[in-house]
C-alpha cells in the first residue's frame, strides 16, 4: 500500500517527510556542515571544491550556487538546514522567509508585524491560483 500523504494539498508548503529526507540527504548534510566554523572556512576558500565533498545531484548543486532557496526545498532540502547556508550569506531566518515567499524582506517583516499571513484562503491548493 502506498504511503498516504494527506498533507500534499496544502499550498505553498513542502512537508519534509522521510522521502524528501532521503532525496535531500547530501544537500542537507552539506548545509549543516556550515553550522561549524571549519565548514564555513572551507566553503569560503573553495566553494566548488567544497561542493564536490557532498554527492549531491547536479540540480541540487546548481540550486546552491544560485541560492535558489525554494528550489532547494523542492529538491529535498529542509529549512533548518538551508538556513545555515543563508546564515553563511548573512541572511537571518526572517529575511530568508521573506525571500522564499517572493514578497521581499521589508513587506514580509511588515506582514509579520501586522499579525502574519492569515489562514483564510491558505488552507488548500485549490484556493491558490498558481498551484
Amino acid at each position: 500500500m502506498p504511503t498516504k500523504k494527506d498533507y500534499e494539498d496544502i499550498p505553498g508548503t513542502f512537508v519534509f517527510d522521510a522521502d524528501r529526507a532521503r532525496v535531500g540527504y547530501h544537500l542537507n548534510q552539506f548545509c549543516i556542515s556550515l553550522g561549524k566554523a571549519a565548514g564555513r572556512d572551507a566553503f569560503k576558500a573553495d566553494p566548488e571544491g567544497y561542493l564536490t565533498r557532498y554527492p549531491m545531484s547536479e540540480e541540487q548543486k546548481q540550486a546552491v550556487r544560485d541560492r535558489d532557496w525554494n528550489r532547494m526545498l523542492e529538491l529535498g532540502g529542509n529549512i533548518y538546514y538551508t538556513s545555515k547556508l543563508a546564515a553563511f550569506d548573512g541572511i537571518n531566518f526572517q529575511n530568508l522567509a521573506g525571500l522564499m515567499t517572493g514578497m521581499g524582506v521589508e513587506p514580509y517583516r511588515e506582514m509579520m508585524l501586522n499579525g502574519g499571513r492569515s489562514i483564510e484562503g491558505n488552507r488548500y491548493k485549490s484556493e491558490w491560483e498558481e498551484e
Partner: protein
C-alpha cells in the same frame, strides 16, 4: 517520592534568546513578548522545582540527518549550549539529575517506550530559550534539567497520542523514584508558524487559542488531533506542538490554568505560553 507538580507550555523561538542575550528586551518590538513572562518568573520562584523535565526538539544541532531518533533522553551529567552557527548562547551549562534520568530511561523502556539514551549531547535554543524566559539570566540555572529531545523536524513526528501516553509513562517513572523531588515538566515549541516556502509567515491565533483552551479542558481529545491539522492550520513547523502533549499527559486529568500569554509576532512565530498546576 519524586512528584510532578506542574507543567509549562512555552514557545522556544531562537530570536527570543538572541534578544535576551543582546539586551534588546526593552525595545518596542520585544517588550510585549517579555511582559507576558514577568508573572512566570515570579511563579518559578514560588514553585522552585528541584528538577525540570524539559521536552524540546533539537534543530539539527545534536542530530543532523544521519541519525534521527524520535525520542532521545539526556542522561549525561551536563549539557553544553551548542554553537548553532552564530556562537554558543551565553547561558549557564545545563546540569542534569543523572541518577533520576537513568532511572527514567530504564522505566520508560520497560514501559514499552523505546527511547534513545544520550550520554553526550549539546543543547540548542529549543532547550535554553524556555529556561531563559522562565528564569531570566541567572549565573546558574536554579534547577537540574532532564532533556528529552523529540523529532519534529522530519515528518512524521510522533503522534499526539503517543506523546500524551509517553507523558503518562514519564509520570509513572518519576513517581517510582525514591528521592523527595519537586519536578516541573516543560513542553516547548510552537505556536503557529511556517518558516518555509511560499506560505511562510502563516499565523493562526484562533487555532492557537483553541489549542490552549483544550489543553486544560479536553487534553485527551486534543491529543487525538491528526498531524495534517497542525500542518494545515498551524503551519508546517506548528507540528512542534505535539510536544506539549508529553507535558499534558504527565499531569493530572484536572488541572488549574494559572497563567497564559499569547503574542504575535516573534520573528516568524506566534508566541504561546501556559502554566498548569496539578490540583492534588
Amino acid at each position: 517520592m519524586a512528584r510532578i507538580t506542574a507543567g509549562v507550555g512555552c514557545s522556544h523561538v531562537p530570536a527570543i534568546g538572541i534578544a535576551m542575550d543582546t539586551g534588546k528586551t526593552e525595545e518596542e518590538y520585544w517588550k510585549p513578548v517579555f511582559a507576558g513572562f514577568e508573572k512566570s518568573k515570579e511563579w518559578m520562584k514560588e514553585a522552585n522545582p528541584d528538577v525540570i523535565f524539559l521536552v524540546y526538539n533539537d534543530h539539527c544541532t545534536a542530530f543532523d540527518s544521519s541519525i534521527i531518533p524520535t525520542f532521545a533522553l539526556g542522561c549525561a551529567a551536563e549539557f553544553q549550549p551548542a554553537d548553532e552557527g552564530w556562537g554558543p548562547r551565553p547561558v549557564p551549562v545545563v546540569k542534569n539529575h543523572p541518577v533520576l534520568a537513568s532511572h527514567i530511561a530504564q522505566s520508560l523502556i520497560l514501559d514499552e517506550f523505546d527511547i534513545t539514551i544520550m550520554n553526550e549531547m549539546e543543547v540548542d535554543h529549543g532547550l535554553t530559550v524556555p529556561l531563559s524566559v522562565m528564569y531570566g539570566q541567572p549565573e546558574e540555572w536554579p534547577a537540574l534539567v532532564i532533556p528529552l529531545a523529540v523529532n519534529v523536524v522530519m515528518y512524521p513526528a510522533p503522534t499526539g497520542n503517543r506523546c500524551f501516553q509517553l507523558g503518562k509513562a514519564i509520570r509513572r517513572a518519576i513517581e517510582s523514584f525514591d528521592e523527595d523531588l519537586n519536578v516541573v515538566i516543560f513542553g516547548t515549541g510552537g505556536m503557529s508558524h511556517q518558516l518555509q516556502y511560499k506560505r511562510a509567515g502563516l499565523i493562526n491565533p484562533e487555532w492557537d487559542n483553541a489549542f490552549l483552551d483544550r489543553l486544560t479542558s479536553d487534553p485527551v481529545g486534543l491529543s487525538q488531533m491528526p498531524h495534517v491539522e497542525y500542518l494545515r492550520e498551524a503551519g508546517s513547523e506548528g507540528v512542534e506542538m505535539v510536544m506539549w502533549h508529553v507535558m499534558r499527559g504527565a499531569l493530572d486529568d484536572e488541572v488549574t490554568e494559572v497563567h497564559r500569554h499569547y503574542h504575535v509576532p516573534a520573528s516568524n512565530t506566534a508566541v504561546g505560553h501556559i502554566i498548569l498546576e496539578n490540583k492534588t
